[in-house]
């Protein structure tokens, strides 16, 4: 199908003309074109050829710096293709469907390709899960493709060899191993949902019967399946249907944050929270957790207990359920008693538990209990039992067959290595040298294999002493396949030839087992043909769409026998555990929101992304609660040594509100000893490695940890120092009951609700002192388009995918830790996160205290949390514009507040006059200079390879800003203009120039998994989504009293607390703080105060 044809297929959404590479793939010209992108030599990393590549592909518009034109310019050349690939039009963006494989799942994506290189990743909204959005990882994965520290060379015992040499050596090795039927061969792989890998593994086990397959994932998500298998007796995976759940209880399950498939969970969860009018239903979230997670910060009720005590809470819930709701025959009194003993191992608010369960029970079949990956198997079993009792199984919890075949563990592999039974160890991806639990001492252990063949994306901790290091290809460079969480088969389509050569996991396996054609495309195609069939047409469709329609796995319809006996068996075998206390802290390990398990360690976008909860960048920290920090006598930035079981780690302290006492939160993924120039920024390892303290495979908590201040201090670069909203109506909140009574409550908050008479005439229209230039001179205003945005704070969970999407789309530079610590981060879109403690808890505080004082204030122990995406508000009467002396920021005819970089002289006055402080100034040449040597000015040059590769990730449609200019959110003006141009090109000699609704999605809107951000035309001849959102009674403008008439407005947040809960508050805590200053918006104000009607 040609690009034009697919555009016709979905005319409403103009940009949906992605194509399958396969459509081109047949033409020999195209093959050659791809090869020519990287002519011979380039594949081995010759930088000169790659420079040619840049010039060839971009005809010099790529590196958009600023230069004075006017003088006679140097000669520049245009290099056309000598033979043009069919269907390729220079300069026109193309979209290809692909997917990002993640552990056992995948995220369906559309990749934007500009001049032959991928420049942006977006969710594929056509996928059956309608995953238009993505998570931050998927956005940042693009940068990994252009990582200058990627492994580029095949190494034999550490010495580079050429690709052909290496491949023939691998073939020889494969021949030898095949001959030996894989004797003494052990494979260590990561989790994967790839059908082709599964096929190849089966093939391997057939050809190499003596070999053994092990899998290791530092943060695996396999316990729900294990629990289901244990309880039901067959391999099953629970699949949660968040959108059906009206009451959700999370047992330390951060399903909005660090759990698997968070993007999909967020989408389904957020769908249940958007209310437009009284009477709309809204889900309710209970969270029981020790860390402060995104899920906890979005919960309506949160029970703060140590992570290890969650098990006791789960047990208490089940006791409550079995005693009060349903009697289960298998639940004999002594079994219940043992359950109760488990419940009594920790102290917590039993009323909370009882009322929460009562609420869940009132919504039987419409509730959901989930347990998180940090919790041991018995908690997952308890969660399943609760769902069973609450009649959720088959409704909100579907069970689908588990197609994963069991594999050996890494501990078993260690035993074999220790026993000297391993001749050849094949490590496929991953980085066990860093992320294996310290007890395995993996770097030493792996040396016991006689020979290691290692496929790796970086030369890292695992690469030492390997016989063969094979550079791994990025998923955008090589064919693959995967399954999304619903089981749908997706294609992983490459957009570019491997930049530095290398092989994919599939290719390495196929090459070693000598199973015929070993190129990834043939392998994936063969799997497809064997498992799906349908020939060329079906394959083309699969590649074009990016997924195979109708391939989702069906839930097991038959309610299987729920084996209560197994449940109690698991429980009785659970080891008893003491609650943590001072002197014996509990360390809790978690998957980092940015580094994951360390795989994004060398990714600058991820390092600089503020953690959604802590807002920390470029570091991890030992998270402590206020009380624990006080007991230890430490403060933010104090370095502590944590010790347990004879091993210790050292890292800085950060006090985290809402954290359980005597808990130390430790994020994986930092402190890499062998990483790239980002992970070891300026020669300093970023963060500290927590793995040495980790108990063992699959363990996420360690008890009995001692902490001691070691006297050093470390700067932590957080992007938000002030935590309280100080009673200001910035995020406006109400409880659901209040929303029902007063749906437009947001309009009754803020200073504008007090001073409306000053700004509006009797009809309520704005009454300015002078006419807007749009009225003064109508030719300055467009009658077709006026852009606006609405952000639903009820949907937004704060996941930060939009931040990275914006960074990727708009060429936002990273600036490094030192600059972030000086508040110079460049993000155009940031997520403001406020904690609210309520007036009682904050009594005696004036808000004038230093930000450092927060860590000592008691109100942060149990705060409510709100997140607010903050970006340019595109005010109609923009205060930034009128202070710019050179017309560098002005309004265009469609209501955009445009920032003209090439006109900006950099007075920074606009930033001062922006009440939202969303403007970002280029204090240095962040794009041109090495970030660790910014202060050396022109004396420091960025290494050529780094400059080239980071230039390739740049969006060619957006100027790269130089130092000294201001920048800010543009509402993705390049997307707007591209859509308008497309519309006009199609209109030709007609007047049909109005861009249809939905054809323009800003990068943040596009990436938002929660659909919280809506952008569109406020005029439009048809009903647009943004018009609908703005008609929502919750709509309000942040700092509306300034009467700048922002085009970005927010839909106020509604909480849905349960009146019976012990931690119920009459008002959301931030609203309570607001009421203290400005009066309760839900009480009618006496006449004369504020009103003046």
């Amino acid at each position: 199908m040609s690009a034009e044809a697919s555009a016709e297929r979905t005319p409403a959404a103009g940009r949906r003309y992605w194509r399958g590479l396969e459509e081109l793939d047949d033409s020999p010209e195209f093959r050659r074109y791809l090869e020519r992108e990287f002519p011979e030599g380039a594949a081995t990393g010759d930088s000169v050829s790659r420079r040619d590549f840049v010039r060839l592909m971009s005809a010099s518009f790529l590196l958009a710096g600023f230069g004075l034109t006017g003088c006679r310019r140097p000669v520049e050349t245009i290099v056309p293709f000598s033979r043009l690939p069919e269907g390729y039009v220079h300069g026109r963006e193309q979209y290809f469907a692909t997917a990002m494989p993640v552990r056992r799942g995948a995220l369906p994506l559309l990749a934007k390709s500009a001049d032959g290189r991928p420049v942006k990743l977006e969710g594929n909204g056509e996928h059956p899960l309608a995953t238009k959005g993505t998570d931050a990882f998927a956005q940042a994965a693009l940068l990994d493709l252009y990582d200058p520290d990627r492994s580029r060379k095949y190494l034999r015992n550490g010495t580079p060899v050429t690709e052909p040499e290496a491949l023939s050596a691998l073939d020889r090795l494969g021949g030898e191993l095949t001959q030996r039927q894989g004797e003494g061969v052990r494979i260590l792989a990561r989790h994967s949902g790839s059908p082709t890998r599964q096929r190849l593994r089966a093939e391997l086990e057939r050809r190499w019967p003596q070999a053994k397959w092990h899998e290791y994932e530092p943060v695996g998500f396999d316990r729900p399946a294990a629990a289901a298998a244990a309880v039901f007796g067959t391999p099953l995976v629970p699949r949660y249907r968040w959108e059906r759940a009206e009451r959700i209880l999370s047992l330390d399950c951060d399903f909005l944050g660090d759990e698997e498939n968070a993007a999909l969970n967020i989408k389904q969860f957020a769908g249940g929270r958007s209310v437009a009018q009284p009477g709309d239903s809204m889900n309710r979230l209970y969270a029981v957790e020790g860390l402060m997670t995104l899920t906890g910060s979005n919960a309506d009720h949160r029970l703060r207990v140590p992570t290890g005590s969650v098990r006791a809470v789960a047990a208490a819930l089940l006791v409550e359920a079995l005693e009060r709701i349903v009697s289960v025959q298998a639940a004999s009194p002594d079994r219940i008693a043992s359950l109760r003993r488990l419940a009594e191992q920790a102290a917590f608010d039993t009323a909370w538990v009882a009322e929460a369960l009562g609420d869940l029970a009132a919504h039987r079949g419409r509730s959901l209990v989930v347990a998180g990956y940090r919790q041991p198997l018995e908690v997952h079993v308890l969660a399943l039992a609760l769902n069973q009792v609450l009649e959720n199984v088959g409704k909100t919890v579907e069970l689908v067959p588990d197609e994963q075949r069991p594999a050996g563990t890494i501990s078993e592999l260690k035993n074999e290595l220790d026993a000297g039974a391993v001749d050849t160890l094949v490590i496929l991806g991953g980085n066990p040298g860093y992320d294996a639990p310290a007890g395995l001492d993996w770097q030493a252990t792996q040396r016991r294999a006689k020979r290691i063949v290692r496929l790796g994306y970086h030369e890292d901790e695992t690469s030492g002493d390997v016989a063969w290091h094979v550079p791994q290809t990025h998923f955008l460079e090589s064919w693959g396949d995967a399954r999304t969480p619903d089981g749908t088969r997706v294609s992983v389509q490459p957009l570019i030839q491997p930049l530095f050569g290398g092989l994919s996991e599939l290719e390495v396996i196929a090459r070693l087992i000598q199973a015929g054609k070993a190129d990834a495309h043939s392998l994936v195609r063969a799997t497809f043909d064997a498992e799906v069939g349908g020939g060329e047409e079906a394959w083309k469709r699969f590649v074009h769409d990016g997924f195979l329609a109708g391939s989702a796995s069906e839930p097991v319809a038959d309610p299987l026998g729920f084996r209560w006996g197994q449940v109690f068996g698991e429980i009785s075998s659970a080891a008893s555990q003491a609650a943590p206390g001072s002197g014996a802290l509990e360390a809790v390990f978690y998957r980092d929101a940015k580094m994951d398990d360390g795989r994004f360690n060398n990714n600058g976008w991820m390092q600089e992304l503020p953690d959604p909860v802590t807002k920390l960048t470029w570091d991890n920290a030992a998270l402590l609660s206020r009380l624990t920090a006080r007991e230890l006598g430490v403060e933010n930035g104090d370095v502590v040594t944590l010790e347990a079981n004879g091993r210790s780690i050292t890292g800085p302290v950060l006090v985290q509100p809402g954290l359980a006492d005597h808990t130390v939160g430790l994020a994986f993924g930092y402190g890499r000893s062998r990483t790239g120039r980002i992970g070891a920024f300026d020669g300093q390892t970023v963060g500290f490695d927590v793995n040495p303290l980790r108990p063992g495979e699959g363990g996420f908590t360690v008890a009995g940890v001692t902490a001691a201040k070691n006297g050093e201090r470390q700067v932590l670069a957080t992007t938000q120092a002030h935590w309280s909203m100080e009673g200001r109506a910035i995020v406006r909140e109400a409880n659901l009951e209040q929303f029902e009574a007063k749906p437009d409550f947001a309009a009754h908050m803020g200073l504008e609700s007090h001073g409306g008479h000053l700004m509006h005439d009797e009809e309520g229209n704005p009454a300015p002192l002078y006419p807007h230039p749009y009225e003064e001179r109508p030719s300055l205003e467009s009658e077709t388009h006026q852009w606006g945005m609405a952000i639903d704070l009820n949907r937004c969970v704060g996941c930060s995918a939009c931040v990275v999407a914006c960074q990727s789309e708009n060429n936002v530079p990273i600036v490094g830790k030192e600059q972030v610590a000086m508040s110079r981060e460049m993000h155009w879109l940031r997520i403001d996160r406020y904690y609210a403690g309520g007036t009682d808890a904050r009594a005696g505080l004036s808000g004038l205290e230093s930000d450092e004082d927060y860590q000592r204030q008691a109100w942060i122990d149990d705060p409510q949390v709100v997140s607010q995406p903050m970006l340019c508000q595109h005010c109609e009467s923009a205060p930034c514009e009128s202070v710019c002396p050179v017309n560098a920021t002005v309004h265009d005819h469609e209501g955009l507040n445009v920032m003209v970089y090439n006109r900006c002289v950099g007075t920074r006055y606009c930033s001062n006059n922006c009440a939202w402080k969303v403007r970002r100034f280029n204090f240095f040449d962040y794009n041109k200079r090495p970030l660790e040597r910014l202060y050396e000015g022109p004396l420091a040059e960025r290494p050529a390879d780094e400059l080239e590769l980071t230039s390739m990730v740049k969006n060619p449609d957006v100027s790269v800003r130089m130092r000294g200019v201001m920048e800010k959110c543009t509402f993705c003006v390049q997307r707007i203009e591209t859509a308008k141009i497309r519309q006009k090109v199609a209109a030709r000699d007609s007047g049909d120039i109005e861009v249809p609704d939905g054809a323009i999605q800003t990068a943040c809107e596009q990436a938002c998994p929660a659909d919280a951000i809506v952008f569109g035309n406020l005029l439009g001849s048809t009903e647009s989504r943004v018009k609908r959102q703005k008609a929502n009674p919750r709509n309000y403008a942040v700092l509306g009293f300034l009467d700048t008439k922002p085009r970005t407005t927010y839909l106020a947040k509604v909480r849905n607390p349960n009146r019976k809960m012990p931690d119920y508050h009459e008002l959301p805590l931030s609203t309570m703080e607001y009421s203290e200053n400005m009066g309760n918006p839900f009480q009618d104000q006496p006449a004369g105060e504020g009103g003046h009607h």
Partner: protein, 474 residues
């Protein structure tokens, strides 16, 4: 020519009814004045001058060094960040321009008010104005991110449409205000210098001196027809400088007042900035003149009465400034806008409380000591207090710029501010630059307006016995 015989010539005392404290003590004659003041320019360069110059010049060199580093590296070498996008540069700019205001006030406003005592100090004060405005002008020019495009702030034709400056921006008003202020001050100062340059020309011995002073004296002959036009022009310039000096600091205050930031957006700014400017300017005049009058033995020309009068002006303007501080706080409370109220609480009690209280002690409390004559007439006290005034006014601008920016509307943006060594050394460099220029000025140009001082002595009055009148006049 200049003969020593004049020194001793005693002039007959004035009648009792005309007796008031003389502007020039010890009944100095006309000739004594030229000899004394021109003598500074003509005599041997004193050692202390060389010492001071040797100190100030290297300090001044810091300024171009730091600016060069700034230009090649980026604004990031300063301590600015995202909430605090303006810092020391703007603080220094406002401080310097404020200092400049005293010169214009003394030369123009006091002239219009017929305050004859201004004559002995106006030349030095005007020179101070010009040098201070030069120092001030450095900062808005270098604080922009792309200095090589700073010419875009001027309405020059171009091939970009053409694209013009944006005249609604207070920064553009600043461009016009500061450049006008500098130009007019320079014209005014130069015009006042013409007769005195002629004096030195006429006394000069070397050809070089004759040529240089002669060239700039423009061929002045002291013709009364010239004096007639000259005096008129001088009066008009004084008349123009008065609204100018008021407008310049009003416009500088618009940089803040026209914005919407709590703590900036306030109508009290223009008068309060003007008062503050005069306050700081008199502080600086005192700081400069008290040592000079001693070093050059000009106690008879720059008398204790002059110093006292300046102390009184300082007291008055300091009280106005103190009142303005109080009103700001009052209105912030009375206005009922919590953002505004917070901004002022934060000034006094927030993380930058120390800057606020330095400002209050130096600007409000210190000048109150000038109520006491003992203090006003003690040069040491006055000198020390004048330095406190300079410090206090610097902190006033720091408080306005930094504390308002660092915590504004949205708590999520709030941040901190720490200057870097480049900030500090650039500022120190401008002080060196200022002092260097001032030293050159006192070495090469008459630091007291000779002809004007002559004009206010009794000997200049044709109706005064000292002026030759025999009493049979009008």
């Amino acid at each position: 020519m200049a003969s020593k015989s004049h020194e001793g010539v005693a002039v007959a005392p004035p009648p009792l009814e005309l007796e008031r404290e003389p502007l020039v003590h010890n009944r100095r004659s006309l000739g004594w004045l030229s000899d004394r003041i021109s003598g500074i320019v003509e005599g041997k360069t004193p050692l202390w001058w060389w010492v001071s110059f040797a100190i100030c010049l290297p300090v001044a060199v810091l300024c171009p060094l730091m600016i060069g580093y700034l230009i090649v590296t980026g604004v990031g070498v300063w301590g600015l960040n995202h909430p605090v996008a303006w810092g020391w540069a703007i603080v220094n700019f406002v401080w310097w321009i404020g200092i400049g205001h005293a010169g214009t006030l003394i030369s123009a406003i006091l002239f219009l008010l017929r305050q004859k005592w201004r004559t002995s100090i106006n030349r030095a004060a005007e020179a101070m104005t010009i040098f201070a405005v030069m120092c001030a002008g450095i900062f808005p020019a270098i604080h922009v991110g792309r200095i090589w495009f700073a010419w875009w702030l001027f309405p020059l034709p171009n091939s970009m449409g053409p694209l013009w400056p944006q005249f609604r921006s207070p920064l553009l008003w600043d461009v016009f205000a500061v450049s006008t202020y500098f130009t007019v001050s320079l014209l005014f100062w130069y015009m006042g210098l013409i007769p005195d340059l002629a004096t030195i020309r006429d006394r000069a011995k070397g050809v070089v001196r004759k040529f240089c002073y002669g060239l700039f004296a423009l061929g002045w002959t002291g013709s009364n027809r010239h004096w007639s036009n000259y005096e008129k022009a001088y009066l008009i310039l004084a008349g123009l400088s008065t609204p100018l000096v008021l407008s310049v600091h009003s416009i500088v205050s618009f940089d803040f007042a026209v914005s919407q930031l709590p703590g900036w957006h306030t109508t009290i700014f223009p008068p309060y900035f003007v008062a503050g400017a005069i306050f700081s300017g008199f502080g600086m005049v005192l700081t400069l003149l008290i040592p000079l009058r001693t070093l050059f033995k000009l106690e008879d020309v720059i008398t204790v009465r002059h110093i006292e009068l300046m102390c009184k002006v300082t007291l008055a303007t300091g009280s106005i400034v103190g009142y303005a501080y109080f009103m700001e706080v009052f209105i912030a409370w009375y206005g009922g806008n919590p953002y505004e109220a917070y901004a002022f609480q934060n000034r006094a009690l927030g993380p930058f409380w120390w800057a606020y209280w330095i400002m209050i002690s130096c600007n409000v409390i210190c000048p109150q000591l000038f109520w006491f004559k003992k203090i006003r007439t003690n040069m040491v006290y006055v000198f020390v207090l004048s330095i406190f005034v300079n410090i206090g006014m610097w902190f006033e601008r720091f408080v306005i710029v930094v504390t308002s920016l660092h915590r504004d509307f949205m708590p999520a943006n709030w941040g901190d501010y720490t200057p870097t060594y480049v900030d500090v050394l650039t500022y120190v460099g401008t002080i060196g630059f200022f002092m260097t220029l001032f030293l050159l000025f006192i070495r090469f140009l008459p630091l007291v307006a000779i002809s004007e001082v002559k004009g206010v002595t009794p000997a200049a009055d044709p109706h005064h016995p000292a002026g030759g009148s025999r009493g049979e006049g009008h």
